[in-house]
Symmetry: C2
Subunit: 167 residues, 2 copies
């Protein structure tokens, strides 16, 4: 299980939270939707994470702060965040939808260890160029792409070597 880290650099986080809250409110107002204390709480906790959370994982974190908030509310909040660009779906292709927040985050991709589930982020500007060039070539108006690398992380490679030499 990859660990979920909480980011507590007070100053930068604070600013980020305010930006995000403002963005969310504007988005809601524009669609005639309403604010709620639950959404604010979920957003705050979501932004304080790094990494890639399933609805269930975020719900667990949220419950630690307010046990009355239900799974469905977290589920719908994440959809909302994704709609207004605060969150992006991350595709690890393990049957679970994960989200990461997109505030002050450079465009990046993920490499996932298929043994322990850990992941690292990497930057690869070429990939953006490929998206545009292929889109143009086939007459597609491209909106996004999905790129992941799968393999075995260094730690798991060592464990596997130990296991095989022991047997």
């Amino acid at each position: 299980m990859p660990e979920v880290r909480i980011d507590d650099h007070a100053d930068a986080s604070q600013e980020r939270l305010e930006d995000a809250t403002r963005l969310l409110r504007e988005y809601l107002a524009g669609l005639g939707l309403k604010q709620s204390a639950q959404r604010d709480a979920i957003l705050r906790i979501f932004l304080a994470t790094r990494g890639h959370l399933s609805t269930e994982e975020l719900h667990r974190l949220v419950k630690e702060h307010d046990a009355t908030i239900g799974y469905t509310t977290v589920y719908r909040a994440l959809k909302l965040f994704a709609e207004c660009g605060l969150a992006a779906e991350v595709e690890f292709h393990d049957g679970v939808i994960r989200y990461e927040h997109r505030l002050n985050r450079r465009n990046h991709h993920h490499m996932v260890c298929t043994v322990c589930g850990d992941s690292v982020e990497f930057f690869s500007p070429e990939v953006e160029a490929i998206e545009h060039s292929i889109g143009e070539q086939f007459g597609y108006a491209t909106t996004r792409h999905s790129f992941q690398i799968y393999g075995t992380c260094h730690a798991c490679q060592i464990k596997q070597k130990e296991k095989s030499s022991a047997s």
Copy 2:
């Protein structure tokens, strides 16, 4: 709905089928598993397709040939094909697992229209290079990657334009 095309270039297909059948038999034998008429039939029909089939779609094709073959058998056959390298999972991120066969197919990626679901295949050797370079950089032994581009195909762009100018 993307259409499933049947490839009936008799000569090349025939050869391909024999290679694949041999590969499958060797794989089964190596694990102490057994051949069956159902698996042969499913493999034959699977190889005659192009594109990306869900279990259900392949089951539908298989039933046209032999209505007694059940969904579960097709499901398990596809897993088997994937294990022995005859098939690869294709990830379109729509909640359905799709497979494509991997005989005589260059490494390729997919660009998917998010409006009509159609897709085109493209080749991008740079992506392989990125996989290796990033893997090396972070100490991962990489095994594969997943790369898709999403957007709107030419036909759907036209339809959208017509719709918006009509309103």
